[in-house]
């Protein structure tokens, strides 16, 4: 049974780990993986439908009655089954098998707050603190009438009957659930991308513009968690050292092994080349950069949207990509490109597909197979888009 310290507006955790609001998905997952002996069952819930904003992604710890809502960083922690966890506030338990989370217990632990709000539809009674709220289940038959909104001028709702126990608990940022958590504490020294714009000239993509986010970069002597944002541009043809000075060192380097797609190349030199190109993986930026082994120059960018239904899910952080499309007259008339247009519209709006911009060419074909089913690639204006089959 998990024993969690609840910090309103911030986190739920214990001395070795904590789920903080503002935590990116991958970080939450890595915590769960490290503590797989404690948390055995986790469900990742995601919506397949493309929605304009706030596409939800939930982590549900089924054995612990705990849920993390991520849009796309953690924005809410819900404990929906208090009988499965122990909860502490300021080091004192207010919920454990021996201490039922009754209204009295909550009052004692957290002190006074505004009167509760009754939600008739759910038959729940909400008691809100800053960054924290409790929901009490009422016995419908006995109590409901007097908590109806207009009953006794609402005064009765000031009181929650004794003995009522907490049904659910939420930890969120700010005064209401809609406030956004401050992520600065969580960035550590990693660099994250707020967004990536593809820079294009009239002939195709030429580079990427990163809006980067990092924290803790104040003067050395102070631990400064001020959030810093800055913009950087990387262009095709940049040398390794350029890229690393501009956006920092990659998380990993991947040496490309045999290239299966080389067979499609029209050029005569299909045989194995002596040198292998290498990728710089920027996992927290959602971007890979391919460098030429000989000239050490960037020659391809791969952007990963980290869609939950993709083979590579959770390898890259989700990032907001924006790709401008240049209308070029009389160029694109094939069905493939028409379809691509739709997809790209989706991408621009919803950032939910996997994009692989690379070098000039277009057509369509099916791609690799993986357990998620195949995806489709479309080449367009010097970019290739990999689109999920749905």
């Amino acid at each position: 049974m998990l024993d969690l310290e609840i910090v309103p507006e911030r986190s739920a955790g214990n001395e070795s780990w904590e789920f903080s609001l503002g935590m990116p998905f991958a970080q939450a997952v890595s915590i769960l993986q490290k503590h797989c002996h404690l948390v055995r069952n986790v469900q990742v819930l995601y919506s397949e439908q493309v929605k304009p904003v706030g596409n939800d992604l939930l982590l549900n710890l089924t054995q612990d009655g705990l849920t993390l809502g991520l849009i796309p960083a953690a924005s809410i922690i819900e404990v929906y089954n208090l009988s499965k966890v122990k909860l502490k506030y300021c080091g004192v338990h207010f919920n454990s098998p021996t201490i039922p989370p009754t209204i009295e217990q909550i009052d004692q632990s957290f002190g006074a707050t505004h009167p509760g709000v009754y939600n008739a539809a759910e038959q729940l009674f909400h008691l809100n603190f800053r960054g924290l709220s409790f929901s009490f289940r009422l016995d419908a038959r006995l109590d409901t009438p007097k908590f109806a909104p207009h009953y006794a001028h609402g005064l009765a709702s000031l009181q929650i009957p004794n003995g009522a126990t907490v049904e659910r608990m939420h930890v969120y940022a700010g005064n209401a659930l809609s406030d956004h958590p401050d992520a600065s504490k969580l960035l550590r020294r990693n660099v994250y991308a707020e967004g990536v714009d593809v820079l294009c000239d009239a002939y195709g993509p030429i580079g990427l513009k990163f809006r980067l986010l990092t924290a803790g970069c104040g003067p050395v002597m102070r631990v400064d968690n001020k959030l810093q944002t800055f913009q950087r541009c990387v262009y095709l043809g940049d040398h390794c050292q350029d890229v690393v000075s501009i956006i920092g060192s990659p998380h990993k380097v991947f040496y490309k092994s045999e290239d299966k797609m080389r067979i499609h190349s029209a050029l005569p030199h299909k045989q194995k080349s002596r040198c292998n190109d290498y990728f710089y993986n920027f996992f927290t930026l959602g971007v890979d950069i391919l460098f030429d082994a000989i000239s050490q120059q960037a020659k391809k960018f791969v952007l990963h949207t980290n869609y939950p239904g993709h083979y590579n899910f959770n390898m890259y952080h989700r990032c907001d990509f924006r790709i401008p499309l240049i209308p070029r007259c009389g160029e694109i008339a094939t069905p493939a490109s028409a379809k691509l247009h739709c997809s790209v519209q989706d991408i621009l709006g919803y950032k939910n597909f996997v994009l692989l911009p690379c070098l000039p060419h277009r057509s369509s074909s099916s791609n690799n197979t993986n357990p998620f089913g195949s995806t489709f690639c479309y080449g367009f204006q010097g970019m290739i888009f990999e689109v999920g089959s749905k």
């Binding site: 780990w17 904590e18 970080q27 915590i31 797989c36 986790v42 819930l45 995601y46 919506s47 397949e48 439908q49 939930l58 089924t62 009655g65 849920t67 809502g69 849009i71 759910e122 550590r188 020294r189 002939y203 803790g216 050395v220 002597m221 800055f230 095709l236 043809g237 040398h239 050292q241 000075s245 956006i247 920092g248 060192s249 998380h251 991947f254 040496y255 290239d259 080389r262 499609h264 050029l267 030199h269 040198c275 990728f279 927290t284 890979d288 391919l290 082994a293 000989i294 120059q297 960037a298 791969v302 590579n312 899910f313 390898m315 690379c358 070098l359 057509s363 690799n368 993986n370 357990p371």
Partner: protein, 907 residues
């Protein structure tokens, strides 16, 4: 065809000068006999090979980079593995009476591309054409290629070697002359700047206009052959700094210098375990003035202590030349925008040589003693040097005698380092660009392999190792402060505290490579040492050409340290005072056309190591073939077996200028190789600026024809871009994936509603794991979202990735179709193969942990749920492949069309 020193041919005036053909090195047997002369005994019999009289005296030699071998921009070398694809080697020889530049293309016919006779030349550099930057216009487009020289005659101030003359090879005139007050040591250039190294100073000039860009006045002098060591990459300049400034110090830096006097094989297990400790210990020791206080490395106190006293800095600063303006310095009251990294590279010993690899991410450093060389990987941060990290990957152990390093070179793929000392010995070390032991797996393949082998990855060893690495300093509330002697007085205390606090959080931090702990560096011994006999220098001084015989070399097997004894003392005596300028470079063979048998050519192609070209100040260029094989005597060759390297001289070029040869002075014709190359490179710029970006890709043909283009892009699709984890998240068993169906109900975010998860609850699929109590208690809970509304969307695509199976399936089809996917839709729905059905039942039965009484349809489902763990465990690390039992239990996946099996509550 052993043509011995045929008379050099002359090219036509104005194009190229002399052409020299390679000569085969004399018979192998002679070479083998040299092996026995391990010391400086120079065989008398330098017979064979004719002696050409009147060779001029070479002062220095150097391999160079310029437009002609710029693979990035010179389209002649792009992406065509065939003859003529390798860029020529460019070799500059400085004479007491002038300068000479050779180009050695793949054909092996060395061409003299420049030759001038005037006073002694200190240094010279061909300037690459500048990078096209919109803001800056190249003022010298019409003049390029340019050659910057520093010689004794042109300085008008009176003192020699105080001016840089930039000369146009196209027109022959001096286009720019830069005067300095102090003598110039070296000139470096890249596509952005021209650097002039002075006594403890560096001045940088813009490559387009030769206007002042920045200067550095805080270099720490070296006593070695290069008084102001610098390394210039494409964008970074590394120099030896004269102080270490806390505020800008990067993480990492030198670690484990204690192995200094130990042999290469002494890497105790204890040491690696203590790596976290010694990291901090080193930092403390560095700052409290010399002797390390760390208790973890006793040997440091014993041996390193006394040696260290009189020695000094050893700090390296890397600056970003794009951001550098004015005076570049590292100081407390300076923001340090232009600093990329600032770190101690050698423990209190001055740096004597620095070199970047081709990618610019690795930096090799040597100190004035020359016992060990360090290989660092630079992990830059986009904003601050203090946030960057420098990983000490390798300590390359040369030996225990003092030696001055004059040249460091790395192969194109960064797998080989050759360090040449002033004695003329080139030490060849194997390394990996990512660290770790060089072994058969990493070096016997012609291509660079990834750090993690398939075996390691599939076993998940990487993560385990990472866990172990992070533990000592990681979550166990940091034993460091208690063990290390109180660092409270030291100025680095706060920094250590900061490091520690980051360490504590590291378990929550997804793989930030810039955070400690860093792996401990590995000590590597040279695989081979190639010597150019120094004593021949005497000969050369007296009679000059006596050494021109082909056997002018000695090979020494590497120090093999068996049992941890001190390495064999090599070449320690006799050679003092004898110095030889030697430069080395890895490059593909140039001698294929010499031994023109197809077999040998084939062998060249198959060779996994580039050949090593060594030029010495006798004016000889030698090509050594490096043959790599698994270590002799190993019981069986495995991935991890160590390596043996054999070097055999292939051929030689006698490049020293004869007094009889004419000069090859500019102006040159337009078909001169250097001019042609310069034109190509500058044309490349135009192409990129103007009309297409295709140059950057491996595929050069931007065809405007849509038909051709249509197929072309396919080859550009990238399938694998990173090393995946051994198990992906969706392979379970910890994580399960589900889609949330209806958008409206899933997530309601308001403080008055707690409906966050009302639809997403997993109870229906986890009947035997879930607390059923809660289900009963919540009759008003809305329907699980995974269940589409029965009538409206019966075929809604609810997706589930099941534990351990690596499977992704349309659940709506599952109950009806029990056939092999993915073409399940092609099979008639509702048809259930009886055989499969039976099998499924049996396997499901066998897997039941807690049999319950359920309706048949749900029974299968329940049992499967109960056995998730069993299944996934059995499938183990066959990640991505389907377990054998797949067919049977796949079919039993829950149909999400069916309502929640609430009956289970009773069970």
């Amino acid at each position: 065809m052993s043509v011995t020193a045929e008379e050099p041919r002359r090219g036509s005036r104005g194009t190229v000068g002399v052409t020299v053909r390679p000569q085969p090195v004399t018979e192998q047997s002679y070479m083998e006999s040299v092996f026995t002369f391990l010391h400086d005994v120079v065989p008398q019999a330098y017979s064979g090979g004719s002696i050409v009289d009147g060779r001029e005296k070479v002062l220095w030699v150097r391999f160079d980079e310029a437009d002609i071998n710029d693979v990035g921009r010179n389209s002649m070398f792009e992406q065509c593995p065939g003859p003529g694809d390798t860029p020529p080697l460019l070799l500059t020889l400085g004479y007491s009476n002038g300068l000479q530049i050779w180009s050695l293309p793949e054909s092996g016919e060395a061409q003299e591309v420049f030759s001038m006779r005037h006073g002694p030349v200190r240094t010279a550099r061909l300037l690459p054409a500048p990078l096209p930057v919109l803001a800056r216009r190249d003022l010298f487009t019409e003049k390029r290629p340019l050659l910057a020289t520093c010689d004794s005659i042109s300085s008008s101030v009176g003192q020699a070697y105080c001016a840089v003359d930039v000369r146009s090879l196209r027109t022959g005139d001096v286009v720019k002359s830069i005067q300095f007050k102090t003598p110039i040591f070296d000139i470096l250039a890249n596509q952005r700047i021209l650097l002039v190294a002075l006594q403890e100073k560096v001045a940088a000039f813009d490559a387009c206009s030769f206007s002042k860009k920045f200067f550095i006045t805080s270099c720490f002098p070296s006593s070695g052959p290069n008084p102001n060591p610098l390394a210039l990459g494409a964008r970074w300049l590394a120099y030896s700094d004269n102080k270490l400034v806390q505020r800008h110090q990067s993480y990492g830096g030198v670690s484990g210098d204690a192995v200094q006097s130990y042999t290469a094989t002494v890497i105790s297990a204890a040491k690696t375990i203590k790596s976290g400790l010694s990291l901090f210990g080193e930092a403390v020791g560095r700052l409290t003035g010399g002797r390390s206080l760390s208790s973890s490395s006793e040997e440091e106190g014993a041996i390193g202590g006394p040696r260290r006293q009189s020695l000094t800095q050893g700090v390296v600063t890397i600056t970003d030349i794009e951001r550098a303006q004015g005076q570049v310095q590292v100081s407390d009251d300076h923001e340090g925008d232009a600093i990329v990294a600032h770190f101690p590279a050698h423990d209190h010993r001055p740096i004597s040589a620095l070199s970047f690899d081709a990618s610019g991410m690795l930096l090799v450093t040597a100190d004035c003693q020359g016992h060990d060389f360090h290989v660092f990987r630079i992990l830059a941060h986009p904003l601050l040097a203090a946030q960057a990290a420098v990983r000490h990957l390798y300590t390359l152990h040369r030996g225990d005698t003092e030696a001055q390093v004059q040249d460091i070179t790395m192969s194109q793929d960064s797998r080989w380092v050759a360090v040449t000392t002033l004695r003329g010995t080139s030490h060849v070390f194997p390394i990996n660009p990512y660290g770790g032991a060089p072994c058969a797996r990493t070096h016997l393949s012609p291509r660079v392999v990834n750090r993690v082998s398939r075996f390691q990855r599939s076993a998940g060893l990487e993560e385990i190792e990472a866990d172990i690495a992070s533990k000592p300093t990681g979550r166990s509330n940091s034993p460091v402060p208690s063990l290390s002697p109180s660092p409270s007085a030291s100025p680095c205390h706060s920094r250590l505290a900061r490091q520690e606090s980051f360490c504590n959080r590291i378990n929550n931090n997804p793989g930030n490579p810039r955070l400690p702990p860093f792996p401990h560096p590995m000590t590597i011994a040279p695989l081979i040492q190639i010597r150019q006999p120094v004593s021949l220098g005497r000969v050369s001084k007296s009679s000059g050409p006596g050494f021109l015989a082909s056997g002018c070399l000695a090979l020494k097997p590497p120090c093999k340290n068996k049992g941890g004894g001190s390495p064999q003392q090599a070449c320690s005596k006799g050679s003092s005072g004898m110095e030889l300028c030697v430069a080395a470079r890895f490059a593909p063979s140039r001698s294929q056309f010499l031994n023109s048998t197809a077999v040998s050519r084939e062998k060249d192609r198959a060779s996994v190591v580039d050949n090593l070209f060594v030029a010495c100040s006798y004016g000889m260029l030698l090509e050594y073939q490096l043959d790599l094989q698994p270590a002799f005597g190993a019981a069986k060759i495995s991935d991890e077996s160590s390596l043996d390297l054999l070097a055999s001289p292939r051929c030689s070029w006698t490049l020293a200028r004869s007094a009889l040869w004419d000069e090859a002075r500019p102006p040159f014709d337009n078909n001169h190789p250097l001019l042609l190359a310069s034109d190509t490179v500058q044309a490349w710029r135009g192409r990129r600026d103007g009309h297409s970006c295709t140059n950057c890709g491996s595929n050069e043909s931007l065809s405007s024809d849509p038909g051709v283009e249509g197929e072309e892009w396919l080859s550009q699709v990238e399938i694998v871009t990173h090393t995946g984890p051994h198990r992906r998240l969706w392979m379970g068993p910890q994580f399960q994936f589900k889609t949330v169906q209806s958008s409206g109900q899933t997530m309601v975010l308001s403080s008055s509603s707690s409906a966050l998860l009302s639809q997403g609850t997993p109870e229906p699929l986890q009947p035997d794991i879930m607390d059923l109590h809660s289900l009963r208690l919540q009759p008003v809970r809305s329907d699980p979202v995974t269940m589409p509304r029965p009538s409206s969307a019966p075929r809604a695509a609810a997706l589930e990735i099941e534990a351990g199976s690596g499977m992704f399936e349309q659940n709506s089809l599952l109950l009806e179709v029990s056939h092999s996917w993915p073409d399940s839709s092609a099979i008639g729905r509702g048809v259930t193969d009886p055989v499969d059905e039976g099998l499924r039942e049996r396997i499901a039965d066998a897997m039941v942990e807690s049999p319950g009484v359920c309706p048949p349809d749900h029974a299968v489902e329940l049992r499967r749920e109960g056995s998730i763990e069993t299944l996934s465990n059995s499938s183990g690390s066959t990640s991505g492949s389907f377990p054998r039992a797949y067919e049977s239990y796949r079919a039993s996946l829950p149909g999400l069309d069916t309502p929640l099996p609430l009956q289970d509550d009773d069970g």
